[in-house]
């Protein structure tokens, strides 16, 4: 009985990994394509360090209610944030939310909105590439 249980568990794990990995792989490749799109027009090679600094900065140059990314996303990319209206925001770290940054239209829409809300301007390709590189490393 014990062996059977163990076999069942192993089968379940194998099936789970087998079922997930193609999705994960395609999510990763979609994200990589988006990041290379930004890095190809950025001045410097993309950097997770600069992305981290941008995420943690408090420019307060956009709308008064959103002085920084962390206002809504929370202090850590690993944990959930919350919109000003009280809705939860899934963590941005790719290790926690695997499907993050895999849809270019969605990525562009939220960079446009949120950079204007926080920085008062659109972000550069460099900033977008840095930011996504940081989130992918977490």
């Amino acid at each position: 009985m014990k062996t059977l249980n163990k076999t069942n568990v192993i089968t379940a794990v194998v099936l789970l990994i087998g079922g997930l990995s193609p999705n994960l792989a395609s999510a990763n490749s979609a994200r990589d394509t988006i990041i290379s799109g930004f890095s190809s027009v950025a001045e410097l090679p993309v950097s997770a360090e600069r992305g981290k600094a941008l995420f943690e900065s408090s420019p307060a140059a956009g709308k008064p209610d959103t002085p920084s990314c962390t206002t809504c996303h929370g202090a850590s990319p690993m944990t959930s944030g919350m919109t000003r209206a009280g809705k939860p925001i899934e963590p941005m770290a790719v290790s926690v939310t695997a499907e993050r940054f895999t849809d270019l239209k969605k990525v562009q829409k939220w960079f446009r909105r949120n950079c204007k809300s926080v920085l008062g301007r659109e972000c550069t390709a460099q900033e977008k590439g840095d930011f996504l590189t940081f989130m992918s490393s977490r």
Partner: protein, 158 residues
């Protein structure tokens, strides 16, 4: 004959009673457009269009780049689709006028549902101020904190 008349009157009275009860219900049509549900429901609950007049929705859709303190801009195709849905299902879209038109003067174009006379009347009488400060409420835009079926247009729970 007398009995029949009595029956008729009773039927009429009960019809009147049930009608007035159903008018008192706080039920609204749930949003049945996936784009509207998704785009309007990411940061806050997607509010049913019957809660504001057409003129208010037009104003809101004109100012998406400064949407209550945030940039909520959309591409024009998506924005037009949403605007059409909101205006054609607005509080004043039906000939009898929705509940949210009550007390709303012609010159009033509230941008927040919480500024409409109907919302104010419904909440001021029933909700104590401490309830708004409850950490689970977060904001007056969080209908669902107190109306668990608000997403389905059902606010008939108080």
């Amino acid at each position: 004959m007398f009995c029949f008349q009595k029956l008729l009157i009773m039927t009429f009275v009960s019809f009147l009673l049930t009608t007035s009860v159903s008018i008192a219900d706080e039920r609204y049509n749930p949003i049945d457009d996936v784009v509207v549900s998704k785009e309007c429901g990411t940061c806050h609950m997607a509010f049913q269009p019957q809660m504001l007049p057409e003129r208010s929705w037009e104003e809101i859709m004109l100012r998406l780049s400064d949407h209550f303190g945030e940039d909520a801009s959309l591409d024009s195709v998506t924005a037009n689709r949403i605007k059409l849905y909101l205006t054609s299902n607005a509080a004043d879209s039906s000939w009898w006028g929705g509940k949210f038109m009550r007390g709303l003067k012609d010159h009033m174009s509230p941008l927040r549902i919480t500024e409409t006379p109907h919302w104010i009347r419904e909440h001021n009488e029933e909700v104590p101020s401490w309830a708004w400060n409850d950490p689970s409420v977060k904001s007056k835009a969080s209908c669902i904190a107190c109306h668990p079926r608000a997403n389905r247009g059902d606010y008939d729970d108080d």
